[in-house]
């Protein structure tokens, strides 16, 4: 058992796979000697050399395209987008190519590729560097999407993502990079398995990314009021572990979904709609979604923190629900 930061855990996941499999390699903007904008790849250039840890020009389309072309021809690339916001620049390669080629070609090619992308707000990086874009990519058949919230999950999901034979979008939260946690094992976490971060019996909170931590904080606050919250982190947004959600719901009959995205059209809505549709009879109350306000992320610290949900919002929503 080791203490590790989230960033270290992601790096460790990549390193383990790179050591075992010479076909695994990394590229992206400034991921080489510089170690990546958030330092996630620090040291890997020294360990594995320029061939396997490559700086690219600023060409996100070419980065994702290179992942596709190399994955289709026998390699297992890990591409980094410096911010998830730059998805927009490589969106065609991701959505119309990576996600669809296998299907369009009748299953004739396989694309084992991972695209890493830091998302989320909290560092006053403003509207073009703070988004949570999971809704777009979970909507696209052909992509898998994971989003770890702890070092242990980051390591396990990275191993799972690299082993996966499909394009896996690996979302990271930039505020979590420096968060430390215990890493008990180096086993891959299979995609599609949720984790109950805290058991409880009164209400189910489904939270992703940094919001898992806010949900846990909220659950502590609520304990004082005698409210026992169960916190589920899906970890894998697609495939989604519906069973774990359903089991929890059978116990609590109440659900709050917390994501950092703009609420309108967010992935939280998908979870909410799915639950209503499939488990309506188990619901004692409407599924409540908590998300960011429907604004671009503002720069000013006071505005930014106002837009993003936090533990108080979760506490309030749960109190109202119960």
């Amino acid at each position: 058992m080791k203490m590790m930061t989230y960033a270290e855990a992601i790096r460790e996941g990549m390193r383990i796979k790179m050591q075992k499999d010479p076909n695994v390699f990394i590229f992206g903007e400034d991921v080489g000697a510089f170690g990546g904008c958030f330092g996630v790849t620090a040291g890997l250039f020294d360990e594995f050399g320029e061939k396997r840890v490559r700086d690219t020009p600023i060409s996100e389309g070419a980065i994702i395209g290179s992942a596709i072309g190399s994955a289709a021809t026998g390699l297992r690339p890990i591409a980094e987008l410096m911010f998830i916001d730059f998805l927009t620049v490589g969106m065609d390669q991701l959505v119309n190519q990576a996600a669809k080629l296998r299907y369009m070609f009748g299953g004739k090619i396989t694309l084992p590729m991972v695209v890493r992308m830091p998302g989320g707000a909290g560092v006053q990086a403003a509207a073009q560097h703070s988004q949570s874009l999971e809704a777009w990519i979970t909507h696209v058949p052909g992509l898998k999407v994971v989003y770890p919230s702890t070092p242990q999950d980051a390591l396990g999901l990275m191993l799972g993502a690299i082993e996966d034979d499909n394009p896996v979008m690996f979302i990271e939260h930039k505020l979590l990079y420096s968060v430390k946690g215990e890493v008990e094992n180096e086993k891959p976490i299979p995609l599609g398995v949720a984790d109950i971060k805290k058991e409880g019996k009164d209400v189910t909170v489904i939270a992703t990314g940094k919001m898992v931590h806010d949900a846990l904080k909220a659950s502590e606050l609520l304990l004082k009021d005698g409210i026992d919250v169960e916190v589920i982190d899906p970890r894998s947004l697609y495939p989604l572990d519906k069973e774990t959600i359903f089991k929890s719901l059978q116990k609590t009959n109440k659900v709050v979904v917390v994501t950092e995205e703009n609420k309108r059209g967010g992935y939280g809505g998908e979870i909410s709609a799915m639950i209503s549709e499939d488990y309506f009879d188990y619901l004692d109350a409407p599924v409540v979604r908590i998300g960011a306000l429907d604004t671009p992320i503002p720069f000013s610290p006071t505005l930014e923190s106002y837009v993003i949900p936090n533990e108080t919002d979760i506490v309030n929503a749960i109190k109202e629900l119960i």
């Binding site: 390699f25 061939k51 690219t56 020009p57 060409s59 389309g61 070419a62 994702i64 395209g65 290179s66 992942a67 596709i68 072309g69 190399s70 994955a71 289709a72 021809t73 026998g74 390699l75 690339p77 065609d92 390669q93 119309n96 190519q97 080629l101 296998r102 299907y103 369009m104 070609f105 009748g106 299953g107 004739k108 090619i109 396989t110 058949p141 052909g142 898998k144 034979d165 499909n166 495939p239």
Partner: protein, 328 residues
């Protein structure tokens, strides 16, 4: 460059296989057997043929919406191609892709592509893979004149040149992007001029001269296999038909069309072969009949094949997950 007679005949045969496949597809589309969008390669046969004659089975190509010619030239099977155009389960893509998405990984065909400019960066990825795996393969990226205004063109050529990847970029300049003449979509005449921006060789050749195309590509491929990096080759050619079937091509001036018809690459190579006594007229007829037979078989194969089962619709999205066909 001296080409053996048998190689010349091979090239000719590839050209008429494309010509006849496309002519048949044109007719089948007109009579309603082929649905969707069909972009024919008629008139441009010398490009795919001259290029692919240089390639081995394990070399890669990326193709475009106008991909049939590339796929035939790279060794695609006409039966599976035709069945795919029909949307049958025996098609290359089990009916899921259609004309714009034919691929054959066993022949290094990384797919036709319906997004203009999307193949460029995939080709770069294949080139990166070749370099990484240290094989002597090469990847050829086919694309049209109008696609060279797409940002992906630029990103791909830049990356290939700075990493010295074994990619050969082959531009099929047929003078138009749909209805827009080259003079209205870019301010240059020779697209090979764009190579300067990447410090790579840029060459313009007569794309209706299969030998010129062969030669230019041969050199570029050698360069690529020698780890000297990419080349941009522009082949000036012309499409005989509209952009897709159904487009009458009213924007193409008649005079221009007539001039280009005179440069049709197929009569041209035929005349060459007859003049140089490489084949007799009878041999030509035999070759054509052979190809006709192959095409007929392909059509029959497609006709006799079934449409895919409805269950198959949820397969091939992922390697491991089969989507539920649940209440929508």
């Amino acid at each position: 460059m001296k080409l053996s007679n048998s190689k010349i005949v091979d090239m000719y045969k590839t050209m008429i296989r494309i010509r006849k496949f496309e002519t048949q597809a044109m007719n089948l589309f007109a009579q309603g057997s082929i649905p969707g969008f069909v972009h024919l390669y008629l008139g441009e046969e010398a490009v795919a043929t001259g290029v692919c004659e240089n390639l081995k089975d394990d070399d890669y190509i990326t193709s475009t919406h106008r991909g049939h010619g590339h796929i035939v030239a790279k060794g695609g099977d006409l039966k599976y191609m035709m069945a795919e155009l029909y949307g049958k389960e025996t098609g290359y893509c089990k009916g899921k892709g259609g004309s714009m998405h034919i691929a054959d990984a066993t022949k290094g065909i990384l797919g036709a592509n319906g997004i203009v400019g999307a193949g460029h960066n995939i080709a770069v990825g294949a080139g990166l893979s070749i370099q990484y795996r240290e094989t002597d393969q090469v990847c050829v990226c086919f694309f049209g004149d109008a696609s060279t205004n797409q940002g992906t063109f630029h990103e791909a050529l830049n990356l290939a040149s700075v990493w010295k990847l074994p990619v050969v970029f082959v531009c099929e300049n047929n003078l138009y992007g749909i209805s827009v003449n080259q003079s209205r979509h870019q301010a240059i005449k020779d697209i090979s001029d764009r190579a300067v921006a990447y410090n790579m060789p840029g060459i313009t050749v007569d794309g209706n001269d299969v030998f010129a195309v062969y030669e230019a590509t041969n050199e570029a491929i050698k360069r690529a296999r020698d780890k000297k990096g990419p080349t941009l080759i522009e082949c000036k050619t012309y499409r005989h038909r509209g952009h897709f079937e159904g487009d009458p091509g009213a924007y193409k001036p008649e005079k221009e069309q007539n001039e280009w018809l005179k440069k049709d690459p197929i009569p041209r190579i035929e005349k060459y072969m007859i003049d140089k006594k490489i084949v007799t007229n009878n041999k030509l007829e035999d070759l054509k009949k052979e190809v006709d037979k192959e095409i007929n078989e392909a059509v029959e194969f497609a006709n006799n094949s079934s449409y895919p089962s409805l269950e198959s619709v949820v397969e091939d999205i992922y390697t491991d997950i089969k989507e539920e066909v649940r209440v929508r």
